[in-house]
């Protein structure tokens, strides 16, 4: 059992370490870093999902899965629940966190907006990976209007 704080600090160092290899990346370099972080998050999300007890996996509906992630995954990973979950009931979900812990170290406000994607990529992958283990293929992206709030958009890919 490791405290959530350890994960947050590790995440910060991890982003710095992975992005350190290209001190001045062009758009290509930046995108590679983001996709590396996203796929790491994906593998971790899958691994977490695989470790859930059997009874957890018997979700009746897709919406139940999303609610589970917004409550249980978020609580365990970030010590808070997602602030809101909205859906169009056609496979698109928007998860809104008003104060995302991994963005908190950056100054609140707009000035660090360009840095934000680096700090969201891993978590997008985490969501995608957990969903994958729970039988749902998706595309997960994140956006920031004003730090430290952010929105994760989950679009379900139909089989």
């Amino acid at each position: 059992m490791a405290d959530a704080v350890l994960f947050e600090f590790l995440h910060m160092e991890m982003v710095a370490e992975l992005c350190a290899h290209d001190p001045d990346p062009g758009p290509g370099g930046q995108n590679t870093n983001l996709s590396v972080l996203e796929s790491m998050g994906f593998r971790v999300g899958q691994a977490l999902g695989e470790r859930l007890p059997r009874e957890m996996l018997a979700f009746r509906e897709e919406l139940d899965v999303l609610k589970f992630l917004c409550k249980d995954l978020w609580l365990a990973a970030f010590q808070k629940q997602m602030d809101s979950l909205r859906t169009n009931h056609q496979g698109t979900y928007v998860l809104h966190d008003h104060s995302f812990p991994l963005l908190l170290p950056m100054a609140a406000g707009l000035q660090y907006l360009e840095e934000a994607p680096k700090f969201l990529a891993f978590t997008c992958g985490l969501l995608r990976g957990a969903l994958c283990t729970l039988g749902i293929e998706s595309v997960v992206t994140a956006s920031v209007a004003a730090l430290p709030g952010c929105k994760f958009q989950v679009v379900i890919r139909n089989a």
Binding site: A2, E17, L18, K71
Partner: protein, 185 residues
């Protein structure tokens, strides 16, 4: 469903260890294709993880002091107790045992049944587990430096390598005094 996160054995509590495992795997992969780096890889990763760990430790100590209400340690023995019984317990959920004190009281070992960073980790074949574990050494160094102690921490046994236990050797180097203006004692 909503009780899941609260239970002691929650699989989500392995988020830290799984993430660290993924990071090590990724970095080994990153360097795989770089001929020059590959020879030095272990050394580079070893020192990178030490400094990343150090950065974590420097922040972690504040969190620890805020949560634990532990007072100032008067000697290295007290420090050892706090590390093993409070800090390890709080962050990793385990309590190492303290053994092998040096006669001078400036070195001791922490013995753990398993490497606490390891959970379902596949260590890349040709890389030493020492790299992997060095993050924890960095954390210990960074944290203790913030409370005025210069220490060295290293893994001398590791279940990751096939040893029977994991043993971290802690050595007190010196007290870090506050800087005094030149000429004053």
């Amino acid at each position: 469903v909503s009780n899941f996160a609260g239970r002691g054995g929650s699989s989500f509590s392995e988020l830290f260890t799984l993430t660290y495992g993924a990071l090590v795997t990724q970095l080994c992969k990153d360097y795989e294709n770089d001929e020059d780096v590959n020879k030095q890889l272990d050394k580079i990763l070893f020192s990178n993880f030490l400094s990343r760990g150090y950065n974590i430790g420097v922040r972690l100590i504040e969190d620890f002091l805020a949560r634990s209400n532990v007072g100032r340690c008067h000697d290295f023995r007290e420090t050892a107790d706090v590390i093993a019984k409070v800090a390890f317990k709080m962050y990793l959920g385990i309590t190492p045992s303290i053994t092998n004190w040096s006669p001078a009281g400036d070195e001791f070992s922490l013995i753990l049944e398993n490497n606490p960073l390891v959970d379902f980790v596949e260590l890349p074949d040709n890389h030493s587990s020492l790299i992997y574990s060095n993050l924890l050494c960095g954390v210990l160094r960074g944290a203790l430096e913030m409370v005025q102690m210069a220490v060295e921490a290293k893994f001398v046994q590791d279940t990751l390598k096939g040893d029977g236990v994991t043993e971290i050797r802690m050595r007190f180097i010196r007290r870090i005094e506050d800087n005094l203006p030149a000429g004053e004692e």
